[in-house]
């Protein structure tokens, strides 16, 4: 059986396969879709479908006798063929736990567009996940709506007498082929194969793309780590290498608690991707002292009592070492200006300035 559009053949719809166990019933949230095929889309953003496009979508769904359910991280939106589309907020009759359970059940990862077709008998007929920037946000919704529209066209163009399948099967077939076409067209990066979820928690872990081997030169020694490109240098130091002297304050480059030196220059390690820090010589607070002999800046911080709670101190010290290496800030005012990237909630600033001025004469640059 072929499904056709005005443009020609879009795909073969027979034999219509059932994915997995035919006896398995797949859940739908919310209920109330008995007897109609349902397109189930997991998206990042709640759908932005308003005005005339809602009407057009309803008309398509009415023509197909199918429903659309869109699940975002916090909401479920259902588009029924015979009703207004409605939003079911997570706070109302569906809990956020139910949503993540549904996502887990289907094996739909976060950060992607996953589309499923469940037929009127609740059997799974189509499953595909697309990982691409193009299918996020409003574009994801547009992809799904376009696929439904294409399915409608395919159904209209097909000849009922030529097939020996029920109209429901024809609808499912048209949806299936249109979705496959729309997804492959939308996803220039490519779609991923889908396998039924085996580990209940696997789907909750965001998919990892291209884990890489990263070698970092930290405090004079090489460390090779296997990590994702999204891991920051700060997290690699703290969570993977156990170097917890470097602190996480704001994680946005605004507080300076994570300051380390890369090739002698002070940087915010929270804004450096570990994968980008390869090749540089990284110095953390753990690498400053010479055995039991404190670095002059460390010793000066102790002598001048340049801290209260101490959380910002490693960052302050690393920043001060960088400052002295730069050799630009001389006066107290200049030291204050050049330490502006390190915030101290306790207000130990006067003694920090004193410590830096004390250390100045002791540091060999």
């Amino acid at each position: 059986v072929e499904s056709r559009t005005a443009d020609g053949v879009v795909g073969n719809v027979a034999p219509l396969r059932v994915i997995g166990d035919p006896a398995e019933k797949w859940p739908l949230t919310p209920g109330g879709f008995e007897g109609v095929p349902v397109v189930l889309a997991f998206v990042e953003e709640a759908p932005i479908v308003r005005g005339p496009s809602v009407e057009a979508l309803r008309a398509e769904l009415r023509g197909l006798g199918a429903a659309l359910v869109v699940v975002s991280s916090s909401d479920v939106w259902s588009f029924r063929p015979d009703n207004e589309f409605e939003r079911r907020a997570s706070a109302a009759d569906i809990s956020a736990g139910d949503l993540s359970e549904l996502r887990r059940r289907y094996g739909a990862p976060f950060g992607a567009l996953s589309v499923f077709v469940v037929d009127a008998e609740r059997r799974l007929r189509f499953a595909q996940t697309a990982v691409a920037a193009d299918v996020r946000g409003a574009a994801a919704m547009a992809t799904v709506v376009e696929a439904i529209s294409a399915a409608g066209r395919a159904l209209v163009a097909s000849s009922p007498r030529a097939v020996q399948v029920s109209r429901r099967e024809l609808v499912v077939g048209a949806l299936l082929t249109a979705l496959a076409a729309a997804l492959s067209e939308a996803c220039h990066v490519g779609t991923r194969g889908w396998a039924p979820p085996t580990q209940p928690s696997a789907a909750d872990v965001p998919s990892s793309l291209n884990e890489v081997d990263v070698t970092l030169q930290v405090n004079g020694a090489p460390h090779t780590l296997h990590l994702e490109p999204r891991v920051s240098l700060l997290d690699a130091l703290r969570e993977r290498m156990g170097l917890t002297g470097t602190k996480k304050g704001c994680d946005h480059g605004q507080c300076g608690a994570c300051t380390v030196l890369v090739d002698g220059r002070r940087v915010n390690s929270c804004l450096v991707l570990a994968v980008m820090a390869q090749g540089g010589k990284i110095t953390t607070i753990e690498g400053l002292a010479d055995g039991d002999t404190l670095h002059p800046v460390q010793a000066a911080f102790v002598e001048e009592d340049a801290l209260q709670c101490g959380y910002c101190t490693p960052g302050q010290i690393m920043s001060a070492v960088g400052l002295l290496g730069e050799g630009r800030a001389k006066t107290d005012d200049e030291v204050r200006e050049h330490m502006s990237g390190n915030i101290c909630r306790c207000g130990a600033y006067p003694n920090i300035v004193s410590a830096i001025q004390l250390a100045r004469g002791r540091v060999r640059s």
Binding site: A133, A138, S207, N210, S232, G256, V272, E337
Partner: protein, 328 residues
């Protein structure tokens, strides 16, 4: 942070190819991009790290100008002796921005293309942001507008362009060199950024796949006496409430050439031709500077909390012109 693939091309051709792919974003210093990744504002499928490319030098041109690689760090640019001597407003602007750590990381190209600090843009829990979700509305208009623009806004967006460096570059007639799938072209920095209009998501005239490779500065007597003044909430490490980059060429007490650009008050690095018009041919004195300042803010459209920026903008223009006249 959403997962993404990471590429580190080592030649220009591969970099341009990778950057032109759908879902690609370029990363240089990372101070803007990594922040936006963590906020969930930027969700690329693929990051293209430009660090291995050769656009990392400051080269002198025969005419005494500079060709600055897009990967040159803000601190290296700010402390370059030629920049300090011939383009002081650029050095001052860079050193007034961010912190020493961030300046050690941030690149010239990244600074040019940095995103707004509008708190509604940066908060993905806010559903209305035409820049982030085109067509969704603007939460700033009718919201907290204290940090927002009084110049160049539209009914769709009033987000401020946050750069200090760009303001100086606009005043210094700098040119951006961009390379893309269809070759290389030069764009005056003044024309690089676009007004939000109905499409705040479109922020520059760069085409898909085009990368900034260099910034080009031409020397001039007035550029060597340029000045940058920045007013902000705290003494250091804060974005501008109002700032100005100005330069004057004064002969016999009369202004022959003037450049006035504003930061912190506009949706793009804002060159004020109106202010310059009031200056050229006039005596370099306080009365002239006040007229120029008034002209600069004449078309300001304050929205509630940001009304103070109109007067602050005037004052920063006057103060910077006074300094420039002193330097002239």
């Amino acid at each position: 942070v959403r997962p993404f693939a990471y590429l580190r091309p080592t030649d220009d051709r591969s970099a341009l190819h990778a950057a032109a792919e759908n879902g690609s974003e370029a990363i240089a210093g990372g101070t803007g991009m990594v922040d936006l990744l963590r906020l969930g504002v930027s969700t690329p499928a693929r990051l293209v790290d430009l660090a291995a490319l050769a656009w990392s030098r400051i080269e002198r041109s025969a005419d005494g100008g500079l060709r600055i690689g897009a990967l040159v760090k803000n601190s290296d640019l700010a402390y370059h002796p030629d920049v300090q001597e011939r383009f002081p407003a650029l050095s001052q602007a860079l050193l007034s921005g961010a912190s020493p750590q961030l300046r050690n990381m941030a690149s010239t190209g990244g600074n040019l293309l940095q995103r707004t600090r509008c708190s509604y843009f940066r908060d993905v829990a806010i559903r209305q942001c035409n820049k982030r979700l085109p067509g969704s509305g603007c939460a700033a208009i009718g919201g907290d507008t204290r940090m927002h623009a009084v110049l160049g806004g539209s009914d769709a967006c009033i987000a401020v362009h946050p750069s200090d460096m760009c303001v100086a570059l606009v005043a210094l007639d700098a040119v951006v060199r961009a390379r893309g799938p269809n070759g290389e072209r030069d764009i005056p920095v003044e024309e690089l950024h676009v007004l939000p209009g109905a499409r705040p998501d479109v922020e520059s005239v760069l085409r898909k796949g085009e990368l900034v490779t260099h910034v080009i500065l031409k020397p001039s007597p007035w550029a060597a006496r340029s000045v940058y003044v920045k007013l902000r909430d705290r003494a250091s490490f804060a974005f501008a409430l109002a700032s100005a980059a100005v330069a004057l060429d004064v002969a016999g007490g009369t202004i022959r050439t003037a450049r006035v650009a504003l930061g912190g008050v506009a949706t793009k690095p804002w060159r004020s031709h109106e202010a310059e018009h009031e200056l050229v041919g006039q005596a370099a004195n306080a009365a002239t500077f006040r007229r120029a300042a008034a002209a600069a803010m004449e078309n300001a459209q304050p929205r509630g909390d940001n009304a103070f920026k109109v007067e602050l903008g005037r004052r920063v223009v006057v103060r910077s012109l006074e300094r420039a006249a002193g330097a002239a």
